[in-house]
Structures are given as C-alpha cells and as structure tokens.
C-alpha cells in the first residue's frame, strides 16, 4: 500500500506498540509480577485478615477496693459490664496490682480510696484513681472510657437518689441532674473500630506503593541493561516523547485499573468494610487516582538506576505515606512543611476521597477538593515525566560525547592519560 500514514495514525500505532512492548516486559519479569500480583492482590487480603476485628474489647483491669462500700461495689460491677474492660483481678493493695500490671496480666488499675463511701455520705466529692498502661493508647482509651462512662452514670444515679430523699419527684430530679440530655451519633464508625479507618487508607496506599515499586523495578532493570525505556526508536528522529510516556503509562494504567477495582470494590465486600459510596463515583475516583499514580511513579522512577535500589532507597516511605494521609494524625495538626510535603503523594488526596465516599457514603461533592488536587497533581506529574524522559533521552544520545568532552577537559587540565587511570580504577574495584 503506497498511501502515506497520517501523523495521527503513526502516533496511535507507535503508542500501541510501545504499550504492548511494556506489557510483555511486565509479564516476563518475575519480580514485577510478584509485586503487582502477590503484593497488590494478597496484601489487601492479609491486612484485612489481621485487622478483621479491629476493636479491642474487655481489656483486663485490676481493682483495689479500700473502701468496700456499697457504692464502690456497684461501681466495680458496672465497670465489669462495660464492653471496654473486664475486672480480672481484685487486689488487696496497690503493690499487688502493680506487680500484675508489670507482668502484663492487666492493663489498668482502679483504686477506691478508704474514704470513698464516707465522702459520698457527707455529700463531698469522692475521688477514685485510675492507673493506665500507656504501652498502647487503646488500653488507655478503654480504661478511661469505661471508668468515665460509669462515673457519669453513677453521678446521675447518686444525685437522683439524693433528690428523691429530699422529697423531689423523679421528673424534677431528672430535670435538675441532667437539664440537657444528649444524644451521641458516630454514623460512619459506630464502635470506633480501628479497621474501618485504617484499612480504607491502607488499601489506597497499597495501590500507589506497589505500582511505584513495580515500575521502578522494571525501569531500573532496563537502565541496567542499557536499554532505558526513554530511548526512542531511531526512526522517530528524537521525537515521540509523548508516545513513550502515554504508551508505557497506558500499559500500567490498564493493569492497575483492574487491580484498583479489585482493591476498591471486591476486597471491602469480602471483609464487610462499609461500602456506602456510589459505584460510578468511586470508579471516577479510581480513574483519577490511578492515572495520577502512573505519572507519579514514572516521574520518581527516573531516580532508580539499578534494579533493586528502589527498595533500599524508598521502602521506608510506605509507612510515612500512611501517616501523611491524615486519617490517624489529623491534617490540621501537621506542621507546615510536612503538609506541603504530603502534596507530593497521590495517596494524600486519594485516601481521603476514598474514605469520604466509600466509608462515609458521600457523593462526589464531598471529595471535591481532593479531586481537584488529584487533577492538578496528574497534570504536573505528566509534564514532569515528559521532561524526565526527554532529559534522559538527550543524555543517552549524547552520552559518548559528554563523557569524551569531560575526559578531554580533565586530561588537558591535569595532563594524565585517562584510559590508563580507568584500568587502574577497575583493578582496585575488583579488589586486586
């Protein structure tokens, strides 16, 4: 056929070929397959199994009851009945309770002083003491919540008894004791479950990190073998950076839309995580997020020159990314510098948007800011990855010339013969 292809046809053809070639490289590389399919598919399941319960119940505590009055006994009974703690030991003195705590048999101590009942009888404030094990904040939270809830209940109880004794009717007493009754709602995470908030964030961190590690692994391998992805086919005469970026990116994008849908729809369904979002809203989020992650990974993988160095240099970023999502430590409390630093990562916005839509059941409007941020990020990372590929490509094409020029300059300055020096260096490196 003698007809000359149009620019568009050539462009599409090239992009297609590059994409297919990238697909082949991915599936031929065992390490990348391990990261994408074992880590990408199994890690979400693993974390879900680990955090399945997500709620710490019945934390064992010890009670030292020096008062031994009816009020303290009722208090102890009510604490034992709470979801948060159970009274595992009743100790004679603090020394015994402290020993139990140090042996890790209990995670909290409640001490009723000897004058507890007496003070109540005299209508004074009776104080009880709580000692919390701070080795995990969940122990602290449980002990404190149980003791406080029982306290509020007991206060009401004692006051109503007293007003009744003073001749008030039930209704009058209730009006006095609690003039403004309150109603508590925790609609998205009823029991303050650890798994709901953490898993939703972890799922999206897994998408970003596995994509980044896998892509860097492959980019590093190619650079090692001197066939960098940035090198353009000769027939393109140095044009076609866009084809490289979109062609390669397209391969990862397709793969990760699949993995992303598995992580965002199927994993939560298997483990009963809340899925209150609209199917198409979350699909739109995935489209934005995965595209962003692809260009993010492409940009940063430029730094990786050897296959395995990505783990040595960047593995530690995974836990840090999780903190930067703002789901545990609130974003308003971030120091200014780290707030700006968090804007480097797609997860910062992706996790929040996913939580707002999937776990809280919001519509796209609730993720409005995050979607805009993701779009901006995508554009910036796209430009950066284009720039990185052009730069690397230029360096590759002019490598010989740059090296020779540098060598000539040094030779001229120091008057040494570098070919000989290189030999010597190599011998030292070999350890001879």
């Amino acid at each position: 056929m003698a007809k000359k292809d149009t620019y568009l046809r050539t462009w599409l053809h090239d992009t297609w070929e590059i994409g297919i070639h990238e697909f082949r490289s991915i599936f031929k590389d065992g390490g990348v397959m391990l990261i994408f399919f074992v880590a990408g598919l199994v890690y979400p399941l693993l974390y879900n199994v680990i955090y399945q319960n997500g709620i710490l119940e019945d934390t064992p505590i010890a009670v030292v009851d020096n008062a031994a009055c009816s009020e303290s006994r009722r208090y102890i009974r009510e604490m034992d009945a709470t979801r948060e703690v159970r009274v595992a030991y009743r100790c004679m003195d603090m020394a015994e309770a402290e020993r139990l705590m140090q042996e890790r048999k209990i995670n909290g101590i409640v001490l009723f002083p000897g004058d507890f009942g007496e003070k109540l009888a005299h209508m004074e404030t009776a104080t009880l003491s709580v000692y919390c094990d701070m080795s995990s904040f969940l122990y602290y939270k449980n002990a404190l919540m149980a003791v406080n809830h029982v306290m509020l209940h007991e206060i009401g109880q004692i006051q109503i008894e007293r007003y009744a004794a003073a001749g008030f009717t039930d209704i009058e007493a209730a009006q006095l004791v609690q003039a403004v009754p309150y109603e508590e709602n925790n609609p998205y995470n009823n029991a303050f479950s650890y798994s709901f908030f953490l898993l939703s964030a972890i799922l999206f961190v897994i998408i970003q990190q596995t994509l980044f590690y896998g892509m860097s692994l492959l980019a590093g391998t190619m650079r090692e073998q001197n066939r960098s992805f940035a090198s353009l086919p000769d027939r393109m005469h140095g044009h076609g950076v866009g084809r490289i970026v979109l062609g390669r990116g397209g391969a990862y994008w397709l793969l990760y839309m699949g993995i992303g849908m598995y992580i965002a729809y199927i994993v939560p369904a298997i483990f009963g995580l809340p899925q209150r979002g609209d199917f198409f809203d979350i699909l739109l989020l995935l489209l934005f997020f995965v595209t962003d992650c692809v260009f993010f990974s492409m940009t940063w993988s430029t730094l990786i020159t050897k296959r395995e160095t990505v783990f040595v240099l960047f593995l530690f970023m995974s836990p840090i990314c999780l903190f930067l999502t703002g789901t545990s430590w609130p974003t308003v409390a971030f120091p200014g510098f780290w707030k700006v630093f968090s804007w480097l990562f797609p997860t910062t916005f992706g996790c929040q948007a996913f939580i707002n839509m999937s776990a809280a059941g919001g519509d796209l409007a609730t993720a409005h800011d995050q979607m805009i941020a993701l779009t901006l990020q995508t554009v910036i990372y796209f430009v950066l990855s284009m720039a990185a590929v052009s730069l690397e490509n230029w360096v590759l094409r002019n490598k010989e010339r740059i090296r020779e020029e540098g060598a000539r300059r040094i030779e001229a300055r120091f008057g040494v013969d570098l070919t000989e020096a290189n030999e010597r260096d190599l011998r030292i490196i070999r350890g001879e």
Binding site: G31, N53, L56, M134, V177, E308, S328, P335, I355
Partner: protein
C-alpha cells in the same frame, strides 16, 4: 590464613564497595536520618489542638452562645459555625470538621422551663484521632453545661459553694498515665516507629548487600577473599554491617531518651542492649530469607513484605490480643515484637532484668536461623546456579 585475616579482608573489601556505591550508606544512614527528622517533627505538638468542631446553633440565646464560646476556648477544639445542618454534614463527610454539635431551637427557653431539650452531636470516627479527641472535648463541655444549670438552681436555693460542688460532682476521677504522663502521641508512636524503621533498613540493606554479590557474579570473589570459607565471608560482612547498624541503633536510643528527653522509667543502658539484639535478630532474618531464596529480586521483595508487616504485628497500635487468634502466633516471628515487649518493661515500667529476660532469649533464638541456611547459601555463592535477576 587465619580466621581473623579472612574476616579483615572481607571487611576491607566491603568498605571499598561502600565507597564506590553510595547506595549502602544512603539507604541506611540517609533513610533513618530522614525518618528520625520526620517522626520527631511530625508529632512535635504531642497532642493535636484546635480541632475544627462544627456548630449548628439553632437557638442563638445567651446560653448557647456561651456554650460555643467555651468550646472554642478549650485547647482541643476550634469552633466552625454553620447556618444549617446540611452544610455541616457535607463538611464532616469531606473531613473538614471532626464533629458537629446541634443546639436545638429554643434550648434556653426549654431549660428555663424544665422541658429538657436534647442536645445532639455527630462524630466522624473515620478520622480516628481527631474524632476521638473531639468526642472527649464535647462530652466534657456538655457535662459542664449540665453542671452549670444545676449550680444555678442550687445557688438560688441558698446552698453554699462547697456543698454545691459535692452535689454536682459526687465522684471525680484522678487519672495517672503510666509511662506517658502527658498523653503524648509523639512519644507513644516514635518510640516504636523508629526502631521499626531500623529493622526494615537492616533487613533490606543486608539482603541487598549479599544479593548483589550473587547478581553481579562477585560472590565467588567474596568467598575467595575470605579464604574459601563461607562462614568467614558471612562473618566479615556481618561484622561491618553490625557495626554500622548498631551504631545507628545506639544513636537512635541516645536521640530518643537523652537529646529529645523521652520519658524512660528504667535505664538507657538496657535499651542499648535491646536495640543491638534487635539489629542482630533482624540480620539473621535477612540472611535466612536470602538463604532460602538465593534470587536477589525475590529475596528483596519477600524482605520488603515481611518488614512492613512487622509494624502491624509488633502490636503497639492495635494490641495483639485484638487480632484473630490464628494471626496472634505469627507475631513472635518479628524481632520488633520482642523489642516492643522489652521496651514496655524497661521504658514504661522500669522493671529491669526480671521483666525482660525472656525477650532477650527470644531475640537470641533468631541468631540460629542463619546456621540452617548457610550450606545452601554457600552453594549458591560458589556455583552461582540461581537466576540472577
């Protein structure tokens, strides 16, 4: 050549490699320095403050305005006002505010007329720390408000101030936080996160260091340098890396408990012991993983998966007893878990040797792991009969 000469030769060879390829020092000292700076500055405040709390004030009376002002004045909270619930709900869903308080219409009039209006609040428990702290703050304020109403009534009846206190608040709680008096999140998390990062770095860098020998075919040269003894080759590598990682570990402990002044009930010297043992145990894990799978890229991927899991299974955030029973046993396979238990005894309770001797034994048990795979690793190093990539 004697054992010491062999080891010394391997050490000198390793130092040359470090000088030639900065990735080893960058990957260990560089990354841990970044992590230390990150965690120590990120949780600088210890406890978050000025958490945004949404208010929908349908009452607009002196009483409701007073409530809003007082809530705003607490250290934890900062009030954001909304004219209707719908807007506030959107903002809570999008994570802009931690919670919403709805003050019912005519609250002041109802309180005055003893009609008991209901105050409602909503929390977003998906942003965990923010939600939990805002909850605490709102609960305190609403109980104070109730107390204030009661106080007014009692004053009107002529009860004196001391008795009023006893009547409004018959029971009070005096809380003692053992090991972290200020409820400082920074202390709590950094204490384990930084050693956890060190564990991760030890495993990855050591697998990488031994793995590259296989990959570039220099493993034979390594064994030759060690006079043909695999044990000496590994010992030489271990010696120099143990010095590096233990050095980092000791600096971390000094950084935490001396320079930053994190509370420690026991002795800093015992923590030196703990971190060195954890480094040794992690090194054993690294050799074990590479010995089982002498393919650098697979070993590294497995090492990465393993060490990231270590944070979860150390049990310092969600305690191990809250995990499913069949996962709980897995925790013992992570050096960080034993370091954490050691830390609880020494730093929190100051229990000393009696508290943590078992953890020392557990960590020492890890040291037997490399022995099991050494012959296999030797075969791989000399014959280089495994895929290199």
């Amino acid at each position: 050549m004697g054992v010491w000469q062999n080891i010394w030769a391997v050490v000198r060879r390793e130092l040359r490699i470090w000088r030639r390829r900065p990735v080893y020092l960058l990957g260990s000292i560089g990354t841990i320095a970044f992590c230390a700076i990150f965690f120590l500055t990120f949780f600088r405040d210890g406890l978050p403050h000025d958490l945004p709390i949404g208010i929908v004030d349908n009452d607009n009376s002196s009483m409701s305005r007073n409530f809003v002002q007082q809530l705003d004045a607490t250290q934890l909270g900062k009030v954001v006002k909304y004219s209707n619930f719908e807007e506030a709900r959107e903002d809570m869903m999008s994570g802009k505010i931690t919670s919403i308080c709805v003050i019912p219409e005519g609250m002041y009039a109802d309180v005055s007329a003893n009609r008991r209006p209901t105050f409602t609040y909503y929390l977003n428990g998906l942003y965990f720390v923010g939600g939990a702290l805002a909850y605490k703050d709102i609960l305190t304020m609403i109980n104070l408000t109730n107390g204030a109403v009661q106080r007014q009534v009692l004053r009107a009846k002529g009860v004196n101030e001391r008795e009023i206190m006893g009547r409004i608040r018959p029971i009070d709680i005096d809380t003692h936080q053992i090991g972290n008096v200020y409820t400082n999140y920074g202390y709590y998390l950094t204490n384990i996160l930084l050693p956890g990062m060190l564990e991760l770095i030890v495993i990855i860098v050591l697998i990488y260091s031994l793995g590259t020998e296989l990959k570039y075919g220099t493993s034979k040269h390594l064994v030759q340098t060690a006079g043909g003894s695999m044990l000496d080759a590994v010992l030489g590598k271990l010696l120099i890396y143990t010095l590096l990682f233990s050095g980092i570990g000791l600096v971390l402990i000094i950084l935490l408990y001396h320079w930053m002044g994190f509370p420690i009930a026991g002795s800093i010297w015992n923590m030196f012991l703990a971190i060195v043992l954890m480094v040794l145990a992690s090194e054993s894990i690294a050799i074990f993983i590479l010995g089982c799978l002498p393919v650098p890229r697979l070993a590294l991927s497995i090492g990465a998966l393993y060490s990231v899991l270590g944070f979860t299974l150390s049990g310092f955030t969600l305690p191990i007893e809250a995990l499913p029973p069949y996962v709980q046993g897995l925790a013992v396979a992570f050096p960080l878990r034993h370091y954490y238990l050691f830390y609880v005894q020494e730093v929190i309770f100051g229990a000393g040797f009696a508290g943590w001797w078992q953890e020392v034994i557990h960590l020492l048990v890890f040291l037997f792991l490399p022995l099991a795979v050494l012959p296999r690793l030797k075969g791989a190093f000399i014959n280089q009969n495994f895929p290199k990539n």
